[in-house]
Symmetry: C2
Subunit: 195 residues, 2 copies
DNA sequence: TGACGACTAAACCGATCTGTTTAGTCTAGT
DNA sequence: ACTAGACTAAACAGATCGGTTTAGTCGTCA
């Protein structure tokens, strides 16, 4: 009779905290399928028993990793964006993205990478990935409305595509400053949509 | 004393052909690290001995898979694009992309997905991935010149980003018709660059 | 005839995979 | 004093991983 379901991982035990931090680093840096639970447990200074008592399965741990990454991204993005006046916020998402990828995304989008490794539609992480993208699209749409554009849905689609393109290109070192390119295109799209 | 290095896989033995086709399907569909050589050999109706005699290692097989995918993509893209007059070709790459992703890319870009799974810079597949992206950027630049734009380098960066964004979004089913969105943005960027 | 290349069949290797089990320690709260 | 929960230690399980080895068959070409 183990506990192992901390609801939505609101508060983690110290060992669980270490496991999740270690897993996040290894999963993002080496890929999900390339990292075994033994390695995670060892690096976190925890036994496999503890890991399984806290998280139940590798699948669940993967989902928890992505959920927390999503939370960090949302918190960062909204905090940065809200420093700007409403009319500038849609474009400000690209400035927030620039700093984010510089610090946390040397290997592309963690969600896109995870989706590449988890083709099974039933994997619990898939829902987290879908939520992340839908949230971003909804948030961009909201910011487009705040910017007073005529067709916020279409513009949100465009900005989302620019976000994804910049993030993925950033991990491929084929072009310098992909976020700058995306920002340039976004600025023009916004100007165009406002007139 | 095995042969196992067919130069650039110009001509493959029947068994090698089956192995490569099977590997391509499994690697793209399930992810590279999720597919073992035993499964590939079994599905191809070949022994592991044969697989290793022909390809030498899994790494090499992965590189061969990506190389052939790249060749197919280049052949398709150039053939489609050259149906259009030079001035329209840069935009026509998005029409070629639309059909390509419909047929071959339900799970996003095979190269981006592979990069997500192969963090090791020394992996032979990494060079193939880099080549693919650089070639596409160069080709887009060439088409931008043919379209007579003032700054082909900048526009090529933008079109490349739109290609990548559309391809990755296509595998995430968060937006309908991502290639159409990218094409719309590309058309505007081209119009703008021509005036 | 003889040699070579492509191939099958299947055992074998050590390592690693996700996950479980048993046994026991330590600490905080009641 | 008792208990419940968080944790360590380490063995165990069966499957699979990438890769090798030995042995042998078949067809082609010289």
């Amino acid at each position: 009779m183990e506990a192992h379901r901390q609801a939505h991982m609101g508060v983690l035990t110290p060992a669980a905290r270490r496991v999740l931090d270690t897993a996040a680093e290894l999963f993002y840096g080496q890929g999900i399928n390339a990292v075994g639970v033994d390695l995670i447990a060892k690096r976190a200074g925890v036994t496999k028993k503890t890991l399984y008592d806290r998280f139940g399965s590798k699948e669940t741990l993967v989902a928890a990793y992505l959920r927390e990454r999503d939370e960090r991204w949302r918190a960062w993005l909204t905090a940065e964006v809200e420093k700007s006046p409403p009319a500038d916020r849609a474009l400000a998402t690209f400035d927030a993205l620039a700093e984010w990828v510089r610090r946390e995304n040397p290997r592309g989008c963690g969600f896109v990478n995870a989706a590449a490794e988890l083709p099974d539609a039933g994997h619990p992480a898939r829902q987290v990935i879908a939520d992340q993208k839908h949230w971003l699209r909804g948030y961009l749409r909201e910011l487009c409305e705040q910017a007073g554009v005529a067709a916020p849905d279409e513009l949100a689609d465009e900005l989302l595509l620019l976000h994804e393109g910049a993030t993925v290109l950033n991990g491929l070192s084929v072009v310098t400053d992909p976020v700058g390119i995306a920002r340039r295109l976004a600025r023009r799209a916004l100007e165009r949509a406002r007139t």
